[in-house]
């Protein structure tokens, strides 16, 4: 049998397998996904307490790095869902109109 025929047949079998796997994943809308989550929307300057009340104590309270202020800290939660909301922003580049995606909202969520 010609090598191209063998490669083509194997490709076909593999494609059918991939296709079957792909059918098991369902596309859902944001509303569908958020129905299973508790989310808090991040806004700059929001109180830390709001996060702590929603998600409890953080999994890691990182030590301040050298050169940073002791009052500026980072707290880490593991296993949370982060949702980035994006939209297109108009920019001018070399006298041409261009568009790029920017983040307009951020939500951190826990399973219900």
């Amino acid at each position: 049998m010609r090598p191209r025929v063998i490669v083509f047949s194997m490709s076909l079998i593999l494609a059918f397998s991939l296709f079957s796997c792909a059918l098991t994943t369902e596309t859902r809308t944001l509303d569908d996904i958020k129905a299973e989550l508790n989310c808090v929307e991040y806004t700059h300057g929001m109180q830390w307490k709001a996060i702590q009340e929603k998600f409890g104590n953080p999994d890691v309270a990182a030590m301040p790095s050298a050169g940073r202020k002791l009052s500026q800290n980072a707290r880490i939660y593991r296993g949370k869902t982060v949702i980035f909301h994006t939209e297109l922003r108009r920019v001018e580049a070399e006298q041409r109109v261009r568009y790029e995606e920017v983040i307009i909202k951020l939500e951190i969520c826990d399973a219900k």
Binding site: A15, F19, A22, E26, T86, L88, R90, V97, R98, Y99
Partner: protein, 305 residues
């Protein structure tokens, strides 16, 4: 703006594709209409036939859009469907916007085109329809836009005439499944769709030769895209007012479609009218054609820059 002025303004970048330029007996559009055919935007991956593993294809289309944006006060854009390749993204436009923010931003926000739905992006028309959402997609569009004038041209994607792509019947479901499988095969060989298309063309050619020997019809043809007859019949039906969605008889003579990825402009007389079918080509696998209509004139052009 006339077609000649459009070409002149492009400074040699736009030219008539082959000899595909014709003139109808009466006006078809009030102004310059630019028809952008299939784009099949995907994700810059192996299955993305717009990108086709060559960033020059994206650059060329961007320069084309820049030209249209610069002349937008003198023209209106109609995207003829299959702007998105949603058969390979499970109905979802999200990652296409991630891959093509600039092109989609220019299309949506700067040009504000009329969007006609294609078979590969029909999901954004069909999936939400029970919620009353079609994202401004139309099944078909007519020219001229002026409601007081008789309709002269019908514009739609073209899958409606196609046995294996009409999403309204069972044969379309088979065609879609085959295409989805071929889409996954592109991860193994990005040109598998082109290879299979060539094989299909060979098969059709065989049928054509076979028909020549046995059919009583002069110049018989075996063609999976029976577009011209379909659209002449459809336009004739509209012209006699026999359709459900149109009260007054129209004066249609031109059908503008995409879908086949093969540009053509053909004419055929029937009754008192000469009917035209203009297939505007595509922007996939290196294609760079588009249709233009201005007054009585219409043409398939190509963008070379």
């Amino acid at each position: 703006m006339t077609i000649k002025e459009f070409i002149e303004k492009s400074e040699g970048r736009a030219k008539v594709h082959k000899n595909f330029i014709r003139q109808a007996a009466k006006e078809i559009s009030d102004g310059m209409i630019v028809c952008i055919p299939d784009m099949h935007l995907l994700d810059h991956g192996p299955g993305d036939d717009f990108y086709d593993a060559d960033s020059r294809n994206i650059d060329r289309f961007t320069r084309f859009l820049d030209f249209l944006v610069g002349n937008r006060t003198n023209l209106h854009v109609i995207q003829l469907g299959d702007m998105f390749e949603l058969w390979q993204t499970r109905r979802n436009t999200n990652l296409v916007y991630q891959a093509y923010p600039n092109i989609l931003g220019l299309m949506d926000n700067e040009l504000g085109p009329t969007y006609v739905v294609g078979n590969h992006d029909i999901d954004i028309y069909e999936w939400y329809r029970d919620q009353g959402e079609t994202f401004n997609r139309k099944w078909r569009h007519f020219l001229p836009d002026n409601q007081r004038k008789k309709k002269r041209a019908i514009l739609e994607h073209g899958f409606q005439a196609d046995f294996f792509n009409n999403q309204g019947n069972w044969s379309g479901a088979i065609g879609r499944t085959i295409t989805e499988i071929v889409g996954y095969m592109e991860y193994l060989d990005p040109d598998i769709d082109v290879i299979l298309s060539r094989a299909w063309d060979q098969l059709k050619r065989g049928f054509t030769i076979y028909n020549s020997g046995f059919s009583a019809t002069k110049n018989p043809d075996f063609n999976e895209h029976e577009h011209f007859k379909y659209y002449i019949d459809l336009m004739a039906k509209y012209n006699t007012g026999e359709t459900d969605d149109n009260e007054e008889p129209t004066d249609l003579v031109l059908a503008v479609i995409a879908h086949t990825h093969k540009a053509r402009l053909i004419a055929r007389p029937r009754g008192k009218r000469t009917y035209y079918l203009m297939d505007c080509g595509s922007w996939v696998n290196g294609g760079h054609e588009f249709g233009v209509i201005s007054g009585k004139e219409f043409a398939v052009l190509e963008w070379n820059a």
